[in-house]
């Protein structure tokens, strides 16, 4: 079947191409309904990736955060019209040690191959997870980024020592907000501190114990563990600040993506015996567990509604450009494309 695909052909330029989808017995046809723009999409859209990366990856359809409706399911896994979240990570093998989201052979939508900016997406049944009845679709649209936070926090629970009295989150953007929110839920007895640069944004973190401007951190402040949700050029500063104020044997999770290498205070990592780890992708189990959490703790979904920014109905390329441009100029919040294709 001919499928309309909106590919980024060069920075800031989308074009339509039709691609054939073979209607076979093992793939489910999903119509995307709500797409959420991520910073990774913006790096392609604005041409911020290295030139050789852009040359290698484009043309490609962007977006790896999306939900949709099942249109045709020959596998019998879902009924027609079922609302599902689509998992962008697409493994081609399994490994007893390495998780699907870390396998170098796995493909990722909107990075290694076409993302969700398509009329239909053809997916295997295990790349879809049913959404709870009545969930706000604009929140469900960015389930993927929340699942990454969920994944990292699950690893944190495995990797970190049990003294978790104070946990610091660096970053007052969407990822910082989501991570702090999930930490609050998972570790209700811990003190959650958020470190940022914008007081207005920090005021939205109503569920944490304290917030700090990074330039006004009390000298005697110390934390047990840290999460870096900054990325970009500001990430090294955030990580080094975490290294400075973390107690020995604490853990630091790297979650923000940077294009450049980060100079880190490795001497202090060594002296304090700090454990560093990182993640930017999640796997099926994280989606499944997160959806269960959404069902059991609807207040989390309610908190996430607060970071829904622009909602743009998208019928054609001018609407897509508008959504991406508005997303660049936003102060905070996720930009959602209501996908009318």
């Amino acid at each position: 079947m001919l499928n309309k695909v909106y590919q980024l052909v060069r920075p800031r330029q989308f074009e339509i191409v039709y691609k054939n989808i073979e209607l076979d017995d093992s793939h489910i046809l999903v119509h995307p309904t709500h797409l959420s723009i991520c910073n990774a999409d913006q790096r392609y859209y604005q041409g911020l990736r290295a030139e050789e990366v852009l040359r290698k990856k484009l043309p490609m359809a962007l977006i790896h955060e999306a939900i949709g409706e099942v249109v045709y399911d020959p596998t019998g896994s879902f009924e027609t019209g079922a609302k599902v979240v689509m998992i962008p990570n697409t493994p081609v093998e399994t490994d007893p040690i390495v998780a699907e989201n870390y396998l170098r052979s796995s493909k990722f939508r909107g990075s290694g191959f076409d993302g969700f900016m398509q009329e239909f997406v053809s997916m295997e049944p295990d790349r879809l997870v049913r959404l709870p009845e009545g969930i706000n679709p604009v929140v469900a649209a960015f389930t993927e980024i929340v699942s990454v936070s969920y994944h990292v926090i699950s690893r944190f629970a495995r990797f970190s020592h049990e003294r978790r009295d104070t946990i610091g989150v660096w970053g007052d953007g969407n990822l910082g907000y989501i991570t702090a929110l999930l930490l609050r839920n998972r570790f209700p007895d811990s003190k959650i501190y958020v470190f940022g640069i914008n007081e207005m944004k920090l005021n939205d973190f109503t569920f944490v114990d304290r917030t700090f401007l990074v330039n006004h951190v009390p000298e005697d402040l110390a934390i047990d563990h840290a999460f870096e949700c900054v990325g970009g050029g500001a990430a090294p500063g955030a990580i080094n600040q975490a290294i400075d104020i973390i107690h020995p044997e604490g853990t630091i999770a790297f979650m923000g993506v940077s294009e450049d290498l980060a100079p880190l205070n490795t001497r202090m990592i060594l002296e304090k015996g700090i454990r560093c780890y990182g993640s930017s992708r999640s796997g099926r189990q994280d989606f499944v567990d997160l959806i269960e959490l959404y069902k059991s703790r609807p207040e989390i979904v309610n908190h996430l509604e607060k970071i829904v920014g622009v909602q743009q109905e998208v019928r054609g390329i001018p609407d897509m450009v508008k959504a991406f441009e508005m997303d660049i100029h936003k102060i905070m919040g996720k930009t959602i494309m209501e996908w009318d294709q």
């Binding site: 001919l2 339509i16 017995d25 249109v71 027609t80 009329e119 009318d340 294709q341």
Partner: protein
């Protein structure tokens, strides 16, 4: 699946404008598949259709059935029948099929589409259904980009209409089947011969036909060059 909504794919054309092509244009291949298969697939995966009725020339009925058998998995929702002598007669054959095999009543909706417009999208089909439910009938159009010149004597311009009010008709065109049948049957034989467009029949009889936004890429394969254009739209990395 919604009851009483039918996809009607009009594949009755003999392809006389396609030059020396040895077969009707709907059976020519684009992107490795016959055009008609691409079009049927788009309708076949749309869940609201009770049935997708494909109408083609008598000599091509079995060929079309074979193509569907080979290419399309959800075959039970597709039926191939013979078209009529004209576009409207073909449409009437589809309505007759519904009447004989399903239910034809005030709520029966048909979404009719040219088999040679294989770039139709899910959105157009959905908006056709919505508009027909709401307004009774609809036509898929795009704003006219060329200046349209009218010449009554085919020698000199009689008028140049204001382009801002003009649209180019595409398909799908969608109707309440029973009403369309009743109006068509009320036409004289002369009217039937002149009125080749079902939307025009409704408009002339004072019925409202709503506009649905089409797409510039929803092209109709008419001339040999269109095959090349269509091929160039398919592919990509």
């Amino acid at each position: 699946m919604s009851e009483n909504i039918f996809g009607v794919i009009l594949a009755g054309g003999k392809g006389t404008r396609m030059g020396n092509a040895e077969r009707p244009k709907q059976f020519l291949e684009i992107g490795g598949k016959p055009i008609i298969v691409h079009t049927i697939e788009k309708f076949a995966v749309y869940p609201d259709f009770e049935k997708v009725i494909v109408l083609c020339p008598k000599a091509w009925v079995e060929h079309t059935k074979d193509l569907i058998r080979k290419n399309i998995p959800m075959q039970d929702r597709i039926v191939v029948i013979e078209g009529g002598a004209s576009r409207n007669e073909t449409l009437m054959n589809a309505i007759r099929y519904i009447e004989e095999n399903h239910t034809l009543d005030e709520d029966t909706i048909i979404i009719t589409h040219d088999s040679v417009r294989h770039f139709v999208t899910r959105r157009m089909i959905e908006e056709n259904i919505e508009a027909t439910r709401k307004y009774g009938a609809c036509d898929t159009v795009i704003p006219a980009t060329d200046t349209i010149v009218e010449s009554c004597d085919h020698q000199v311009i009689s008028q140049i209409p204001d382009r801002s009010t003009l649209y180019q008709g595409q398909t799908p065109q969608s109707f309440h089947a029973l009403k369309l049948k009743q109006i068509y049957e009320s036409l004289t034989e002369e009217e039937k011969a002149i009125l080749t467009d079902a939307c025009k029949i409704l408009v002339l009889k004072g019925e409202q036909v709503h506009l649905v936004e089409g797409d510039v890429s929803n092209i109709k394969i008419t001339y040999p060059a269109d095959i090349r254009i269509a091929d160039s739209l398919i592919g990509g990395r």
